[in-house]
Symmetry: C2
Subunit: 413 residues, 2 copies
């Protein structure tokens, strides 16, 4: 099947998916989980092949680690599908409703997008995760995984499709999109057949999808997340939040990447902070003012305040005041999660008003900006764009809406 045929088959499957009851979708999720669990041996074998090929090709070990599956990781994928079954169904939820003066009733209800394309990199667990989220939200999924995980993805998708068939749902609701670079191009230009594209991966992948697509894209983004320690900060809180936001899981997008310290508290805060960070194995890349506090601080290069380390590294700078911190964040931020530590209501208000990001935090760790922490139960990614969804995206964010307009013969005057 070429991509066009796959997309047409997905649309046809989506037509039914959109009207399934929650009970049928939950039964399908459990059947998908069962089939995936049953395929464990086959999946581990296919994955071992993928891993061997990646090592032969000289892939770096960090990426091989993302690619590798274990029994525990597969159990996680299976449990993820079962957890989705326990969540409320977003489809059919009434967003709002009212009556027109002439008695016509207007009701805005959530409906699935239809066909969702996911373009992602090496992690094969995304395959089950994305398929499950799409199914629960009533969407057909076209999964464009990495060629490096092809064997694992094929076994996973085959199992998920067996699960769907076993409960009488068209297996084309979940399809793997295979082929060269030109297939990704076909997918990105399939406006009218694919309703939404969600890239999941590094900045390069996301940029390529955003630039090349005519299909609407939801950008799940990179996070150059800042912590600004205000002159009115509780410094104990600042130490705790900084350490947590930087080191609790440095490889994720909501981890802190840049520290900004108000000059008035630099003497009191930075020596303590640098000590604690060094103790946690964090390398600090500082401007001249920060370097002055410790020999362990590496002088920050010219581009050091851009982008993400995604590792135990932190850029740091002393600022003259809140205004300078806001300007810095506006220039270098990626619109993900930005934090102020302050006891001043006025400073907190100015910061939350001015900062243009998916999440703005006051005296809390940016690691809370996450679908799981927010209580969404499932998360397809964290949107850093402003259209449709911004911040953690759960099941509701995987839906569109439709107006139902009901009358008894009313016409417009």
């Amino acid at each position: 099947m070429d991509f066009q045929q796959q997309a047409v088959a997905a649309r046809e499957a989506a037509r039914t998916l959109g009207t399934l009851t929650r009970a049928r979708k939950d039964a399908a999720l459990h059947a998908m989980a069962d089939a995936l669990a049953d395929a464990e041996v086959e999946l581990l074998a296919a994955n071992a092949g993928d891993v061997a090929r990646a090592r032969e090709a000289g892939t770096e070990e960090a990426i091989v680690d993302r690619l590798a599956l274990t029994s525990a990781r597969i159990a996680g994928m299976v449990q993820g599908l079962r957890d989705l079954a326990a969540l409320p169904d977003p489809v059919g939820d009434v967003v709002r409703g009212w009556k027109l003066p002439n008695g016509v009733s207007v009701t805005q209800v959530r409906v699935p997008f239809g066909v969702v394309g996911i373009i992602y990199e090496a992690r094969p667990n995304v395959t089950a995760d994305a398929a499950g989220i799409c199914l629960k939200s009533g969407n057909a999924a076209l999964l464009r995984g990495s060629s490096s995980a092809l064997g694992s993805n094929q076994v996973t998708v085959a199992a998920l499709r067996r699960g769907l068939e076993s409960v009488g749902i068209a297996p084309d609701a979940v399809q793997l999109v295979i082929g060269g670079r030109e297939v990704t191009g076909d997918m990105m230009r399939a406006r009218g057949l694919v309703d939404v594209l969600i890239p999941r991966g590094g900045a390069g992948l996301i940029r390529a999808v955003v630039d090349g697509s005519t299909v609407p894209v939801i950008e799940t983004g990179t996070g150059n997340c800042h912590i600004y320690v205000d002159e009115a900060a509780d410094l104990d809180q600042a130490i705790g939040i900084l350490l947590n936001a930087k080191t609790q899981r440095p490889s994720v997008c909501n981890a802190a990447e840049t520290l900004l310290v108000h000059r008035a508290v630099a003497d009191a805060f930075l020596p303590r902070a640098l000590d604690v960070l060094a103790g946690a194995g964090v390398t600090v890349h500082g401007d001249a003012a920060v370097v002055a506090y410790s020999d362990a601080v590496v002088p920050a290069g010219p581009d050091e305040f851009e982008g993400e380390y995604l590792d135990l590294d932190l850029a740091a700078r002393v600022v003259d005041d809140l205004g300078e911190a806001l300007d810095h964040i506006r220039r270098h931020g990626t619109g993900h999660s930005e934090t102020i530590i302050t006891t001043s209501k006025a400073a907190a208000k100015r910061f939350t008003d001015d900062v243009d990001a998916a999440a703005v935090l006051v005296n809390a760790s940016s690691r809370f900006v996450d679908g799981g922490e927010f209580g969404f139960g499932a998360e397809i990614g964290i949107s850093t764009q402003k259209l449709h969804a911004r911040g953690p995206m759960g099941l509701a964010e995987m839906t569109s809406s439709k107006y139902l307009v009901e009358g008894d013969g009313q016409v417009r005057a």
Copy 2:
């Protein structure tokens, strides 16, 4: 100023706009209205020039009519700005909020997009209308009007900017984007500087913007709107709704373009309907079954069921059952507004479940699918896409959101 400089200036203006109180924005809208009213003579003169140039260039009269301003039309533009001042401010509205188990509070609030680009065709009234909607929703507006309306647009924008300045708001909140085709290209690729693009105009314009943009686009679309008269229809209601949806204002996107009639009621319905339509000056383009009812029916050509007439023309077809009507709508519909006339709850449910459109109507005229009729007070367009907003877009749809996450030192375990 080149486009890049304009966009940077708009971003800077947007930073302030996003934090203005409603009172200041309403004062600005009244000041813009006053300045536009004061510029009436100048605007009529500039518009007369635009109209003369359009006639010289051989522009068809329907387009010249859209271009032409009168004192009454200018008064409408002025009143439109004042009406916006009377509407609630969407910015700062709490969408939802909750507490995490550890006491951290999460609040999702509406915030402006930032910089909105509007690309539109000949109607110069869109200039004031779009500028006002953007201002009320806290967004800076980059207005890319048609070169045919350049004189009118320049006078309008200059007046609106004088209004902004008179109340101390940066005039770069409203800017006209001038230049050749390459400037439109710059605007469509200004991702990061422009937050959203909204094309307003014909299908060709919208397609070009969708295809050429890396900036997220909200598609305000064409409407090939169907009316399906079910076997269980109240035929008096069907006649009234058909006549209203087709003839009350045939040039707009929510007018009916195609009639589908269940075979079981064709004998009872079509002779009456064709009579009433003929009496209202409507030319019916029918399939063979419809042609059989009247000599006045023109045989429908092969592409007759695609696209919009936007005039006193209607395509018509007899279908065997509801399923065939649904298939027809799925194949030919543009996802705008689709109507069923029926007294059967089961038929209504099947229709509203299956039809994939911004609005699905039961026993009511599709002319109600409109921001004004819905009570939104203002409308930037009717979205036929599924991302962000679907259906009539009021002020709330001109906003994004931001999560405020507030704690007292909480960190993630």
